[in-house]
């Protein structure tokens, strides 16, 4: 597989009071189209990744929302897979190019979350889980907390190790002018912040953010650049209580295996990656499930410091979901944008020197959908 990333675009992530969902989508899409140096009329199809606009704004039909704002008549549709919507939309776009039906497609991920009360967002996001979980009053922090407690009990993972994920990702975001939280925090700050869902405190969680990201993908190269060589999706039970093992996301292991096979690269080849750290435990489990360390060693692996920028294997150089922000539909595409910039060598203070092969890992719900992409220079 060789899908060319012709252009990328990314808005600032954060509480963007003066920008609407459409403003954000257009800003990212416009950047991606001009970066690709392509006439927008040559775009054959548009994939819009979004989870919540129906629930929060009563706006459906996002494909046409984007084409009408762009002023084109291309095929367009919305892709939804909870927090994996962005990765899934890229996967769908890759399929459409591989089929030969289109030569150039645009993928836009967008989410506008900060206009409404937190209780409404919490309720809306719980749509990513099962009916039984909603009836039990579970929230997304609650669901990941259930896995975190199990991981602590089974492998001795500590609160300090989880906090180390947040501290590292805030450091990375402090170097990223697109990030929601451009400041550093300490382990103590994480441990002493208010409890949201035991054992998690506020700083274990990714924030509620506005933002958009976009990529133009092509089956033929417009210019020399980064290519997608692996695009894999796997699924698992929608509810946690139907799974035997609560300390791993099985869909991650399955998607990773498919992506390694498609791309012909493996764990040893990866120079930089963006993984789905919606909560600190999620990055720890991602390290294990993707195969970068042994099962149960994720906490110690992060704590050792080797996943920090400047060290052996930088993870989440953008700041991750935790500190760059998590506008749900945009997240999976932002991960691709970050890796493309790293491989192009234009990441400035966050540049991973000599990066040639990168990975993105995007999770929907509690791992009911996982998308893994491999990108190469």
């Amino acid at each position: 597989m060789k899908i060319h990333v012709a252009g990328v675009g990314l808005t600032r992530f954060g509480e963007l009071w003066n920008k609407s969902l459409e403003d954000l989508a257009m800003e990212a899409a416009g950047q991606a189209i001009s970066d690709a140096r392509i006439d927008k009329q040559k775009i054959g199809a548009i994939f819009v990744a979004n989870m919540l606009s129906s629930k929060l704004y009563g706006q459906d039909h996002l494909g046409a929302v984007v084409t009408s704002a762009l002023g084109i008549n291309a095929a367009a549709l919305r892709v939804e897979g909870a927090c994996a919507s962005g990765g899934l939309a890229v996967h769908m776009a890759v399929q459409s190019l591989l089929s030969g039906m289109y030569e150039h497609v645009l993928v836009v991920g967008v989410e506008k979350m900060t206009d409404v009360l937190p209780s409404l967002i919490t309720t809306a996001l719980s749509g990513a889980g099962s009916e039984d979980e909603r009836r039990a009053g579970l929230t997304f922090p609650g669901l990941y907390a259930l896995m975190a407690r199990m991981h602590m009990q089974t492998y001795g993972t500590t609160r300090e190790q989880m906090a180390a994920v947040a501290v590292k990702n805030h450091f990375h975001a402090s170097l990223n002018d697109r990030a929601h939280f451009q400041f550093e925090i300490s382990i103590e700050k994480v441990l002493t912040s208010p409890t949201i869902s035991n054992p998690f405190t506020l700083f274990d969680a990714s924030p509620i953010s506005d933002g958009a990201a976009a990529v133009v993908l092509s089956s033929k190269p417009i210019k020399k650049g980064v290519v997608i060589t692996g695009s894999a999706v796997a699924t698992d039970t929608i509810g946690l209580d139907k799974r035997k093992n609560l300390t791993e996301l099985t869909a991650t292991t399955i998607a990773a295996k498919k992506a390694w096979k498609q791309s012909g690269v493996g764990v040893k080849n990866i120079d930089v990656m963006e993984v789905h750290d919606c909560f600190t435990i999620a990055e720890i489990m991602a390290m294990e499930d993707l195969g970068f360390c042994a099962k149960g060693e994720g906490g110690r692996f992060i704590e050792s410091g080797q996943t920090r920028l400047g060290k052996k294997l930088p993870v989440n150089p953008s700041g991750g979901l935790k500190a760059c922000g998590h506008p749900v539909g945009a997240t999976g595409i932002k991960q691709i944008v970050e890796i493309v910039q790293q491989l192009r060598g234009v990441s400035g203070k966050r540049q991973v020197s000599g990066a040639k092969v990168g990975l993105t890992h995007n999770v929907g719900g509690t791992g009911a959908t996982v998308v893994v992409h491999i990108l190469q220079k």
Binding site: P118, S119, L120, T122, T123, S126, S130, D132, E133, R134, R135, A136, G137, L138, T139, P141, G142, A145, L146, M147, R149, M150, Q153, P194, T195, I196, S197, N198, P199, G239, L240, D241, K242, L246
Partner: protein, 98 residues
Amino acid sequence: MNSPVKNWREAKKLHIYPGKKGKIVTWTNVFVAPNGFEHEVPYKVAIVELLDGQRITAQVTDSDRDVEIGQKVIVVIRRIGKQNPDDVIEYGIKVKPL
């Protein structure tokens, strides 16, 4: 979403659970709640493995004590969340520490 028909359909499945015993597999204490549960915070939610091996997700009720992994519990029927005055009251399963 409160729908009388949905409540009726779901309630028909409940009778198999009351009185079943099991153990807590993992649990959390929720401090930030979704709509309809705000008045209950903080509340505990657990994944419980019943003696027949089935796992369920339920709130821990009738106890202010701390719970722990392995804690024995029994399934009970309780009101779920808080409905608007015009809505049908929703019932479901919760677990009570033994």
